[in-house]
Chain length 208, copies 2
DNA sequence: ACAGAACTCCACCTAAAGGTGGAATAAGAT
DNA sequence: ATCTTATTCCACCTTTAGGTGGAGTTCTGT
């Protein structure tokens, strides 16, 4: 009998995490060696147990999933991390890819897919579902928001007026308008309310 | 040995649902007799298996959780249904209460709480976590949006202008402004962007 | 040295949004 | 019968948002 695949499960919902652990525990060639509920804990558990594969939710308290991937791969570049997230319209997925995640799974996918993806990644393969690859391509093609535009967009979502945004960022209202005009056309919407919902829908900005 | 508690698990994410089933399967006095991934299926499985307790997620495709609770309790008023949801700022929770759900659990709660709540509800008890009860009270106290105001708010979130909303609802733009003025003060915000995020945050309107 | 991108700001304009203070009607509750 | 609430609409006003076209600066990569 070959050695089982040693897993670390990271999810901030105890019920979901417990479910995953119970589920994976029933699979012959897998063992869950550790659990974590946020990014900091994930790093600690990784460093202690050196799992073969890590299942990582992106939406975590305190230290988020993307940051955790960065932390872990800075120390162990060979780390094999699978992103497991609920939201398919999630900008963080692209950040996770850049951070070096090996595979991306939606919780809406079947249990069989989950298990076969874990085995694939354990063997060193990379797996990106077609649906996500498409969005990735579409996003890479689409215009990128600049840092400043993101800061403005974030404040639009939080309901700040142009005047307030100007004083937040200590720039003039004219500049705020410039950024807004630019980001509106990049997002393909024609007013700030549209920008707000687009930002939320695509996961560019989160309501915390 | 007493008869085990017979459970129906309803969740549209196969991985989460599979996890719950695996988790609950390890508990001595519980058996999962059926699963469902949407409201229609939940009703069918309920009618076939007549479970003792139903675990119901609220966010489901097609027929939603609240509607499913209505359907089931219309036929079997004694049905014991536990709402299990990820989002704590969720207007649907109140709708679920009115539909007759017996308990409300957040996926962020511990596995022990989940299990003890299932046992409590099976024994006929009702359980509402303090955090949710508080929000419920706060919400009952707070001003209610009227039907028309909700229709307007929904369109604000979808990025429609006052003029467009007016023609959508075949009323004048003046009336739209009246409704908006009213709902802005009810929501405690001062522009439509604030109304939009407030609506999303409180779960009054959903981005589908 | 130079192109390109990002960031900053200006003036000027139009259109849309929001505030105020009314008022009329219909339906449901007391 | 009366009161309340939701709904509809008006006029008038101020503020905000958005569009257009331009311009100067800094920084990075070539």
């Amino acid at each position: 009998m070959p050695a089982p695949i040693r897993l670390l499960v990271v999810d901030d919902h105890p019920v979901v995490r417990g479910g995953l652990v119970a589920l994976l525990g029933t699979v012959e060639d897998m063992t869950v060696v550790a659990e974590a509920s946020d990014g900091r804990e994930a790093f600690e558990q990784y460093s202690v147990h050196q799992p073969d594969v890590t299942l990582m939710d992106l939406r975590l308290r305190n230290v988020g999933g993307v940051e955790a991937i960065h932390l872990i791969r800075a120390e162990w570049p060979q780390a094999r991390i699978i992103v497991l997230t609920t939201f398919d319209g999630d900008e963080d997925i692209y950040r996770a890819i850049q951070a070096g995640a090996k595979a991306y799974l939606l919780k809406g996918m079947s249990v069989e897919e989950l298990i076969s993806t874990i085995r694939s990644v354990h063997q060193g393969k990379v797996r990106i579902p077609a649906a996500i690859a498409e969005k990735l391509a579409g996003r890479m093609a689409g215009p990128q928001l600049t840092g400043r535009e993101l800061e403005v967009l974030e404040r639009i979502v939080r309901g700040r007026s142009n005047k307030e945004i100007a004083s937040d960022l200590t720039i003039s209202e004219a500049t705020v308008k410039t950024h807004i005009n630019n980001l509106l056309s990049k997002l393909g919407v024609d007013d700030r309310t549209g920008a707000s919902t687009a930002a939320l829908q695509r996961g560019i900005v989160h309501l915390d």
